[in-house]
Symmetry: D2
Subunit: 346 residues, 4 copies
């Protein structure tokens, strides 16, 4: 069985560690190179003791010339800006590239509005925004995939089929998202101090989170029509998990059963999207550690509005798991290869 | 200094324990009688070890004839139904009654729709729905106060002034609330098992929570006009705290500054409502253990919609603290007596 | 590749769910029958939503006559007493049995002292106490394996090699263990209510926990000499994980290096025991969801005493993972088959 | 009623914030000056939103010349080293000084062994090690009190009476302590990142924590004889609370009843030490937010060894609460003034 050689740029963060965990269980991937701006030269197990006996690797500097020639796939798990620059340097090589950062997700103008000038705008047109359930064909032919953000994944997956089928109005969609702390990365800061988060909760970046334009663009591109959302992220004292509660106006009178049927039909061949039975709603602890995306929905009695709830593990379906799902598609492997393990509960 | 004798019916739950904690620090209240359906005859410190050396009391049966004659105030912290029946039996006594349960919050028809037949409907017209910041005059003359639910408190306080001043439309108000587990009480159940809650989050009773009609009635009564809300509660792995994120349509174009000014002006004499500076939003850990209600708001750039966030401690401002605030007003004591302690952070 | 048919008695608890999760990833096991005293007739995914799309099975009653004839392995994840009775009924069948409960762990006299009369004492002599790292040969030939308790596993694994090599005295061994809440099972009780556990910690059953005789017997049997321990369990607000901090007197002067070398040498062929480098100590979050057992040690400067720290996931190496490891050995499969996945961190 | 003017050096950390919280409820203290190395010139409520409407103060630079002349009491809540230098500069003023750091707790030689050269060793002989239950007389006359560390407080209080009465041997005392994260302070670091702590636990500084000599010196000084301890701290995913489980050899045969009687008798006039009934043991959630120290004990059946468990809130009895208790004694106020509030549970 062919093994593909994988390189991870930025292996010392949470999404990097999660890529290593998942690839360790992937039968056709072999990690051959890891980089990290800190910890260069240290053994992986020193930085991540949980990976002792799992992956006997060393962290290299981020110098792209050190990436082995026989690399088949490069995952970039780097801060925005840094990612684009490194990818530009290796773009001409015969590799597939999956960027877990924000650099290739937005159109140039939108990127500039929210992040500033783009470091290598000429590559933007080649990048495919990679939600496998929506764009498998384009992903399979892409050289560069922009792996979606965690909040957008939990927002776009439940909304896309309902918009596409004309059940939901494109204006005044409200997305109230709650996330665990790992979504903010591993760099220490007062905001991420245990005592600041434990036994508390808060909204943050109210009306100004950078995932707002990503959600709007992702939905608009898929629908072929402009979609507007109000998006509010919250920080919840758990490590993993995003729960997005979405409030929509229905275009006509539609019942709960119809909403669930449309979702179920749309995702009937998607191994990772689970549409829950009527009357039940997702819990992030039911998807922890897995690539599942659980969705529940309920229309109001008049069928004029609906509430849709979506749960994912932000580090898996919201980051590293989805990246590997994209890799599988790019390499023409079964979509769920290496991602079949059951959620860790409790 | 006169001491008022206080009796607590249902002292073995979380709101009962919280009443005892707060009354222990109240200079003009003295707990003279505690009842509990379980633990009858046991010392309080056996049931609640944290109250050792704090309150040397015993738990009595719920027989109303045992309530001492010199009781000035009765708090009922009982399940709905049980509460109304006991209150009916003592109603003719010369006492003030504050019911922390749901029995006297709703009009009879609404009660029947959501809870079933009312156990003593004839007392309903005497009950005052007790949000002190909105109804102090009526509370001061009431014999029976219906202490508001935790979710309604966190919803009505931020919305009432904005509705009253005509800034917010009365339709399509979306209230996305997140609560800690103590709001569900102290009775063991699988849903409240530590492992079922820890490291997870979920929406529950989507579109069917009994606090929905309470919020709508509370706001409609205050405004004198019908208000409609969509309310979704969520369970978050903390013990104390409610965060309500509220999405409204503005009636005209209004800016953030204007929203905050109206709120600040309305609550300028309310010691427990803190309107946060522009650009900041509340965290439940900043109100923990206190009677504070923290509110932040932001209008969108066009001034057409706004997001309002409110944090309270569900056991204090959402239950026992507000009950004592009501007691203070009923007894003509300073509103904040016994409730001045600072939040416990972290 | 041959698939072995597996039956799980008591599938609705945490160890049952964990068996299903792990067996789902086992290439040579196929779950053919699940029983539960509650939820009979319900689909597994109703009881455990995280297992939706993972295992399409139904829960049967615990009637042993319903266990399919072609069953190869029976796991019993039942309360003590119930387990022994069911096992007695199926013992004559051509199956291998692994009991995750306490019924077959202790000698009859000790069992009586701590649990009462044994329900089927005549089977006791056939049962093998199954710590694979210590008793692989006997396990491979056993028909009935008594899977060790979580606390004993975390105590015996670090101590056995040091006692066997004569480095540690057999008296006055102090084991201070801290456990997450899942070790207490899934039945609701006030002690396991989220609010009673969150943000707190306590010792429990001080001087009287039933795992004390199991630890002593396990170590004494292995050493061939009487070993005495003081064991104190603690409840910590996490779901999974046991950390045992062990204080021993050294028999002579021994250094940290020597202790670690003896441990490393003893477990050099054990895929799940990781001896940490000098100066580092385990964290339960580094073993979560995995079958690893991490051990660190430090002797005092004089070499007279030592502190040994051991971390396991109580539901995996402390229960279901170890049970599958035992199954692998009984079926002559590779010891780590189906148990290779990396820990879930963070 | 006279108000004493209080200054807090280092008000932007957790112990600083806790001093402000507690002093807010103290009837005879008035905070007149706050310093912080960061945040100079900012309003307190910006740095600590929970203190909005509680304390309308600004943070000043740490320049000692800015401390108002009419200051009666100075609390230093600073890192070791920094504390001693500032205290030296103000020592000649007519103020009482309470240092919450480590600078004045140890004898010079011991300090040097564990921290390095002492910044102002000449003041050491004037400092009184301030455990109020053990040294009230000396504290009442002290100008400079060294407030004990959190771990030492939880270790010395339960052991001192048992050693003094000759029940416990002075050698081979094992102290296994578990602490919440706030004990490590508010400075961000990877070790204190939410995701690194949540759902995990670990021992740290095994055999080398700086509180070891403080415990030994505190006990030895009190007993007048050399006491030796083995001390292991652990980090537990809670914010507040220390639980110390202590293993001792008894000097003769002693029963549980006798141990508890000696403790109860010793602390009969100490308002904050609660000796729990036989068969019960402390939980940190029963002391949270309060100055209580809860102690339980059990001797083994032969009366040769015992397990003693002690719980405190590390920020209150382990730091700021004890500091205020010391202040009360120094100012000849009632020992428990401002510290009477009940624990916050749940």
């Amino acid at each position: 069985m062919k093994k593909f050689n994988v390189c991870i740029l930025g292996a010392s963060g949470y999404t990097g560690a999660e890529l290593i965990r998942l690839l360790h269980g992937h039968p056709q991937a072999s990690i051959s190179h890891l980089t990290a701006s800190r910890h260069v030269g240290r053994a992986l197990a020193e930085v991540f003791p949980h990976l002792g006996e799992i992956a006997d690797l060393e962290l290299s500097s981020s110098d792209p010339s050190l990436i082995p020639d026989d690399t088949d796939v490069v995952f970039a798990a780097l801060p925005h800006g840094a990612s684009a620059k490194l990818i530009e340097e290796i773009y001409e090589r015969d590799v597939r590239i999956i960027d877990l950062g924000a650099d290739f997700r937005l159109m140039e103008g939108t990127y500039r509005d929210w992040y500033g000038d783009h470091p290598c705008a000429h590559l933007l047109e080649n990048a495919v925004y990679g939600i496998p359930e929506l764009s498998a064909a384009r992903i399979s032919e892409a050289k560069l995939v922009a792996n979606p953000g965690c909040y957008p994944t939990s927002s776009i997956l439940p909304l896309a089929p309902l918009l596409k089928n004309g059940l939901v109005e494109t204006e005044r969609i409200i997305i109230d998202s709650k996330s665990g702390a790992s979504g903010a990365g591993r760099n220490p800061s007062l905001d991420l101090h245990f005592c600041e988060i434990s036994e508390g909760m808060k909204a943050y970046k109210v009306g100004e989170h950078r995932h707002t334009p990503e959600i709007e663009q992702g939905l608009s591109d898929f629908l072929g029509d402009k979609v507007e959302v109000v998006f509010t992220p919250h920080l919840i004292p758990i490590s993993r998990g995003i729960l997005s509660t979405i409030y929509v106006n229905l275009s006509d009178s539609h019942g709960t059963r119809e909403l669930l049927d449309v979702l179920g039909q749309f995702y009937r061949n998607s191994p990772f999207v689970r549409i829950l039975p009527e009357g039940t709603f997702p819990n992030t602890s039911s998807v922890r550690g897995s690539n599942f995306c659980d969705i529940g929905a309920r229309a109001n009695p008049e069928g004029k509005t609906a509430i849709i709830v979506c749960a994912i593990d932000n580090l898996v379906k919201g980051a590293s798991g989805q990246a590997i799902q994209n890799m599988n598609i790019m390499l023409d492997l079964p979509e769920s290869l290496g991602l079949e393990s059951a959620p860790l509960y409790p």
